[in-house]
């Protein structure tokens, strides 16, 4: 018998036993929903991880002061902190490094935005732009001259907004006043008052819209500054920071250029610092992949939970199909006998039950996909950026898994049906 005829016959059976069919594929549906959710999360996390690595550099190392919290308030000892000079020494010793970017954050007072506020700004060097560059630039970036001469210049980062605002945004009350100011004013060439010092805005970096901004997907990097200034200028500026008015910086971002050399340079940089300060134990060196993994660990746990629920649901669905198929066989012994008597082979009887179970799994899969996509869309509206990474092949995989579950769980019942003696089956009432 042609497969299409077997499928037609299976559909008749499924239609005839609507309730029984629904019950047996319902748990498959639940399984498929969780598969779609899990796949979307896995894909999103992988995408975010790869994108983060791509943007931030494959050989990225973050070097920070281990003890900046503990030492707060005690007497400042330069030998226990990273300084700008350490960054210069690393750059000089290893000119082959793709990036050596020291940074330093401070909260400072802005007084001429029409209101008084404290904003976080970041002191950087021109090397900052070597990685993570996603911006459209107006004006110029901070250059070596600015650093060497502690120039009072700054670069503003302008948020990209939304191409199409999500529905939840309507309920999002917080308005970033600084970004509102940036959005409505032409800033390049203007002066801005920071801690009563006039800074010239030399450039504006415009982020891509949220939907296209890789950083919205990356979700790493705890501190996104609004304003960038030369690191040397910021060090002399009064403000609130972990390292009050001294030579210490917050950290150095290094990119070796490739992943393989990370461990080597971790050791070499540590040796350079040790030779300068007789101690490198205050350093906290982490490669970027470690940081990413830490940040994704929570999501991974959620994902595992959902996945386990999904697997259990699919298994329950499979057992349900097996149970229904076995029950169907016992209620259709006579039919099996008739089919055998008119010439059906054992294989054809087997196929009949297998195709029926595959169709049940398939239908469960289709329902699961419909509900799953609905859930994904709902979560998207709620602002879950991971759900924006849903792809149609995920639905396809979920349906294949569902159909496969039907297939596997039908093998035993189908073989029972095929082994029935036609004479005995015909006599069965």
């Amino acid at each position: 018998m042609k497969l299409v005829e077997t499928a037609r016959s299976a559909m008749i059976e499924i239609k005839y036993h609507k309730m029984r069919s629904f019950l047996s594929f319902f748990s498959i549906t639940i399984g498929v929903i969780s598969i779609i959710y899990t796949l979307t999360l896995v894909y999103s996390m992988n995408y975010r991880m790869n994108k983060a690595i791509e943007i931030n550099g494959p050989g990225r190392i973050n070097i920070e002061n281990k003890n900046r919290w503990e030492e707060q308030g005690s007497e400042y000892d330069e030998s226990k902190y990273l300084t700008y000079n350490d960054a210069l020494a690393i750059r000089k010793t290893f000119p082959e490094l793709f990036m050596v970017s020291p940074y330093f954050n401070k909260w400072v007072r802005f007084s001429d935005l029409g209101y008084d506020t404290y904003l976080g700004i970041e002191g950087i060097t021109p090397e900052w732009k070597k990685r993570g560059w996603i911006y459209k630039m107006k004006g110029r970036f901070i250059n070596k001259y600015d650093i060497d001469n502690k120039e009072k210049v700054c670069v503003i980062i302008k948020e990209g907004g939304w191409l199409k605002k999500p529905k939840w945004y309507k309920f999002y009350k917080y308005k970033d006043s600084f970004q509102e100011y940036v959005k409505h004013n032409e800033l390049v060439g203007k002066d801005i008052k920071i801690n009563n010092n006039l800074f010239k805005i030399v450039g504006v970096l415009e982020e891509p819209p949220q939907e296209q901004n890789p950083k919205s997907f990356i979700g790493v990097g705890n501190w996104e500054p609004n304003i960038l200034v030369p690191l040397t200028t910021l060090q002399n500026l009064k403000g609130y920071s972990y390292n009050q008015n001294n030579s210490a910086i917050d950290g150095i971002n290094v990119d070796t250029g490739n992943r393989e050399s990370i461990e080597k340079y971790k050791r070499l940089i540590s040796e350079v610092i040790k030779s300068r300060k007789n101690d490198a134990s205050f350093l906290n060196m982490r490669d970027y992949i470690e940081i990413l993994k830490d940040q994704m660990a929570d999501k991974q746990r959620d994902m595992m939970t959902v996945m386990i629920i999904g697997i259990i649901a699919i298994l329950a669905g499979g057992i349900g199909i097996m149970n229904v198929s076995l029950a169907a066989i016992y209620s259709r012994i006579k039919e099996i006998g008739i089919r055998r008597a008119i010439g059906a082979t054992r294989f054809e009887i087997m196929m009949q039950f297998i195709v029926e179970a595959i169709l049940l799994g398939f239908l469960g899969g289709i329902f699961g996909v419909i509900i799953g996509i609905g859930a994904v869309e709902y979560l998207k509206i709620k602002g879950d950026i991971n759900m924006m990474m849903f792809r149609w092949w995920m639905a396809l995989i979920a349906i294949v898994i569902a159909s496969l579950t039907g297939f596997i769980s039908s093998l035993y019942p189908a073989s029972v049906a095929a082994k029935l003696d036609p004479v005995e089956a015909l006599k069965y009432e």
Partner: protein, 222 residues
């Protein structure tokens, strides 16, 4: 066409062995119409099942067109049931969830015939048997006589060379029973070999030959 040589069929359970056939020898020629007559439980249906490749004898040989049935595997036996033999049963054995035409074309579909060709052929038969108007009806909507006609058409759909009828009139009133026998006679007239099992002497008398079976052995042949 058919040759049964010393056919023995035993049914074995844990405590005893029941001998349904005790060495039956039968020969059926092409275009024959043989009635196997006997009381209930005498082994006549068992013999028919063996002739129709549904059952295997415990010992003895069964030849169909000189093919030794014992040499055939399950798939080949299924093919013989599909292509060479048509079955008509006392209780019709139609599938209740299928319509008249769906029941009829089922063996053709198993043979690999396209649905279109199978339906075309079924339509021709239904015209012949006055069943065309009932082609979309479910089995619940048919009378006993109509059901048996559907069963006969289903048996004929793959143009078999042998028609086996197991008490084909057993569930019918006398008028419908006579109609069914007339159909079998007509088919036989057109060249079909028919073997019919019955316990009704009047029906058996309409066949060309009668074999009586009693307690698993041929009691009398006429």
């Amino acid at each position: 066409m058919i040759r049964c040589e010393k056919i023995v069929k035993n049914y074995t359970s844990k405590s005893f062995v029941y001998q349904a056939l005790k060495g039956v020898d039968i020969e059926v020629m092409e275009n024959d119409f043989l009635a196997i007559l006997g009381p209930s439980g005498c082994g006549k249906s068992t013999l028919l099942n063996i002739m129709g490749f549904l059952d295997i004898p415990t010992s003895g040989k069964y030849y169909f067109k000189n093919v030794d049935a014992s040499k055939l595997n399950d798939k080949e036996r299924s093919y013989m049931r599909l292509k060479e033999v048509g079955f008509v049963f006392q209780s019709f054995n139609l599938l209740p969830r299928l319509s008249t035409v769906e029941n009829i074309i089922l063996p053709a579909l198993y043979l690999g015939t396209s649905r279109r060709d199978a339906v075309e052929k079924a339509d021709e038969f239904m015209d012949l048997f006055n069943m065309r108007s009932k082609s979309r009806n479910s089995m619940l909507e048919l009378s006993g006589g109509e059901k048996q006609r559907v069963a006969i058409i289903r048996a004929l759909i793959n143009s078999p060379s042998l028609l086996l009828a197991d008490e084909p009139t057993g569930n019918l009133d006398s008028s419908n029973a006579n109609d069914v026998i007339d159909i079998l006679l007509e088919l036989n007239k057109k060249g079909m070999t028919v073997v019919m099992v019955t316990h009704d002497i009047n029906m058996a008398k309409k066949a060309k030959r009668i074999i009586k079976i009693k307690d698993g052995v041929i009691d009398e042949a006429c």
